[in-house]
């Protein structure tokens, strides 16, 4: 039996095609360089503190081990979560894919009679394209996280997991607020404080009038049926406590076995994500509490390709991701392309291994190659996801181009015997003989034109190492 793959905002143009205009966008490059550089330095400082005490590696290992254990027992843990949350007064729904999840959420909102909802920043709802699906049903969803609001007002898409408007600078944001945000006028400056204040006023009215909120969750504790949202701005706390109805869309991999497991992740996540020792707001709720917060609590658990990912022994570690985005901030490829080049709501190194597994490799075959395998992502991952290992594994699974496949087969055949290998060396030297005097090549035909478009290519010298070794009598 094949396990169905996911759908939603997970596929775009082939990576090299989508990357090209972004690499050439000078403003984007400057914004990314500045922003990723700032977060990198903050993270390095607060992680450094824990490294000094010798606690960082044990914490990472604990995070990895808890996630690995969770994946081994996922079906049982999910059922336990459902039982506990239901016992506490929540209603748990199960969604196979994006379409099913969107239908469930839209039906729940329609039943309240409301046409407007406020939203807490959530990758799961971005993944399934919930806002667009609700709009099609005449329901307006307002993003309340500052950066998500910016992206929404611009009619744009997020380009980073944690800071979705990383591709915009503050003057671009001021222009956007002036043009699109009600109650904003020409006196608005591009000071971050003024921009935040303008958004705060705009959002305050939404918080106070909203009857329905939609959120995701960072963690879902099986032992207690508790959901956890970790945030910085307080908008999440507003959405999670003020409305009458709260609908949370949660990927099945967000489960943690026990409440005590949070101790590990609450040390790993803020440090890796915003570069803070602790984030300003952590909200936890378990079903419904009489007279306190929403009286109607729904949890939509989504699969959307996660079971298919879980079935892959090497690739399943992508499900350990806690969406901190440390890998994006250190990735030299991400820093030069931004998130939109990845065509999925999950950009950067984690996106390059998660998106192709959620959608199936056929739909996303260029992403595993959008990396130099430099390993910077693996080095910072708080749950030790070996991203380079999964990238190589997915390259193995990826459909092969016939020309490349025969070239690789031929190269392996040549390398399989000393006689053929030495003949190959001779042929390479003789073939490049006409260019030897020049020292290097400036132009080559496709596919090597990709190299010589910006780099010279040296020509093999007259004598190979082995010929020298033989001539000199074992190099003497």
């Amino acid at each position: 039996m094949t396990i169905p793959h996911g759908s939603g905002n997970l596929v775009g143009l082939p990576f090299p095609t989508a990357a090209k205009p972004r690499v050439r966008d000078i403003g984007l490059r400057a914004n990314l360089r500045r922003a990723t550089g700032t977060i990198r330095a903050k993270r390095a400082a607060v992680v450094g503190e824990v490294e000094e005490t010798g606690d960082w590696e044990p914490l990472r290992e604990a995070g990895r081990a808890i996630k690995a254990r969770t994946m081994r027992h996922l079906p049982e843990l999910l059922e336990r979560f459902e039982a506990k949350a239901t016992e506490a007064g929540a209603v748990v729904h199960w969604a196979r894919d994006a379409g099913e999840a969107n239908r469930i959420v839209a039906d729940l909102i329609r039943r309240t009679g409301e046409r407007e909802v406020v939203k807490v920043k959530s990758m799961a709802t971005q993944e399934i394209g919930l806002n667009e699906a609700l709009a099609a049903q005449g329901i307006a969803a307002t993003e309340t996280d500052l950066a998500e609001l910016i992206v929404q007002l611009a009619g744009d898409e997020p380009s980073h997991i944690l800071v979705p408007a990383i591709h915009k600078n503050r003057s671009e944001i001021r222009e956007l607020f002036r043009a699109r945000m009600p109650g904003t006028d020409d006196s608005l400056t591009d000071e971050p404080r003024d921009l935040a204040e303008a958004a705060r006023k705009h959002l305050r009215a939404k918080f106070l009038s909203a009857k329905v909120a939609v959120s995701g969750a960072n963690f879902a504790v099986a032992e207690t049926g508790t959901l956890v949202v970790v945030e910085s701005e307080g908008n999440g706390r507003m959405c999670l406590t003020l409305p009458e109805t709260l609908i949370s869309v949660v990927g099945v991999e967000k489960i943690l076995p026990e409440f005590a497991d949070l101790e590990v992740f609450m040390q790993l996540l803020p440090r890796s994500s915003t570069g803070e020792r602790m984030n300003p707001y952590t909200s936890m709720w378990t079903g419904v509490t009489e007279g306190d917060g929403p009286s109607s609590v729904h949890i939509v658990l989504i699969d959307n390709g996660r079971s298919a990912t879980l079935a892959d022994e090497v690739g399943r570690q992508a499900l350990h991701c806690i969406r901190c985005s440390a890998c994006l901030n250190v990735c030299p490829v991400y820093e030069r392309t931004g998130g939109h080049a990845y065509g999925s709501v999950y950009p950067g190194p984690i996106g390059a291994i998660l998106s192709p597994q959620l959608t199936g490799i056929e739909a996303n075959k260029t992403l595993p190659f959008a990396s130099t395998l430099c390993g910077a992502c693996y080095e910072v991952c708080p749950v030790k996801i070996n991203i380079p290992e999964v990238l190589v594994h997915l390259r193995q699974e990826s459909p092969k181009n016939l020309a490349e496949k025969s070239a690789m087969g031929a190269a392996a055949w040549v390398m399989g015997s000393r006689r053929r290998y030495e003949a190959g060396l001779r042929a390479a030297r003789m073939g490049s003989f006409p260019w030897r005097a020049k020292g290097s090549l400036k132009h080559m035909p496709w596919p090597m034109s990709g190299w010589t478009s910006s780099r010279d290519l040296p020509v093999p010298p007259k004598e190979s190492f082995r010929d020298w070794w033989k001539r000199e009598g074992e190099g003497r």
Partner: protein, 252 residues
């Protein structure tokens, strides 16, 4: 101790001087070094591009060729990492492969960890900046072993490379499949290298150096790249790194 040189296919064809430098260096330190002629390629390109089946016979071949030596040394952080880090996963439950994999070293590991060398007796009166290549740095964990050896070279002036640990953008077939992004990464690497005012950029991997050198050469930057083994093997009577090299960026 029986030491075998694993030159790597790229060095065999393109950069024989690096292999000669390793041989000179080890013999100068009083060690025997052999070059088994049956060696070909470690299979890294195949394995990393998604051709595991093509790589597996090359892994077995490597174990056949190098199995009888006490230590295998390679002047390539990337190929040494392939053998030590990836071989056991490619051919699991094979004692021969596991054993040769654990006895394979990048040059600075053999010198510092196994042979206890701190001074190679080198003389190289030039300004040099060192780029720690990704697989050596992160897969092998070379740390500052190559740099510590360079610090012992007489006459050398070492300039710190800004953002040294950032990838140069090579990544094997990445340089061709994603040429735009690769070039953007290379440009930043070259900009940082040039800011040091060094004559030479050194590293532990000629494949990365081909990439950086190819960029410097295209820019007519007046800086060349060099494998650090060649610096460690440089002696007083040698010609300087720029003598006779009119094409910047090329390796010789």
């Amino acid at each position: 101790m029986r030491i075998a040189l694993f030159i790597t296919c790229v060095n065999d064809l393109m950069f024989p001087e690096t292999g000669k430098a390793v041989v000179r260096l080890l013999r100068g330190l009083g060690h025997e070094v052999d070059f088994p002629l049956e060696q070909t390629c470690c299979g890294q390109m195949h394995a990393n591009t998604g051709y595991r089946e093509e790589a597996v016979p090359l892994v077995r071949r490597f174990a056949d060729v190098f199995g009888s030596y006490d230590a295998v040394v390679s002047p390539s952080g990337s190929c040494a990492a392939m053998v030590r880090d990836s071989y056991p996963g490619l051919v699991p439950r094979d004692d021969r492969v596991a054993s040769v994999s654990s006895r394979t070293y990048e040059l600075s590991e053999l010198l510092v960890d196994v042979l206890g060398v701190t001074d190679t007796g080198a003389y190289f009166p030039h300004r040099v900046t060192y780029h720690p290549t990704c697989h050596g740095l992160r897969m092998l964990g070379l740390g500052d072993k190559p740099l510590s050896l360079l610090r012992g070279v007489r006459g050398i002036e070492l300039a710190e490379l800004p953002a040294a640990e950032e990838c140069c953008g090579f990544g094997g077939t990445f340089a061709v499949k994603n040429a735009e992004v690769s070039t953007a990464m290379l440009t930043d690497k070259c900009r940082n290298a040039l800011s040091t005012d060094a004559e030479v950029l050194a590293a532990a991997d000629n494949s990365c150096l081909t990439h950086i050198g190819g960029g410097l050469s295209r820019m007519r930057a007046g800086m060349r790249v060099m494998h650090y083994a060649e610096i460690l093997a440089a002696r007083e009577h040698d010609l300087g790194p720029s003598a006779g090299h009119v094409d910047e960026g090329t390796l010789r």
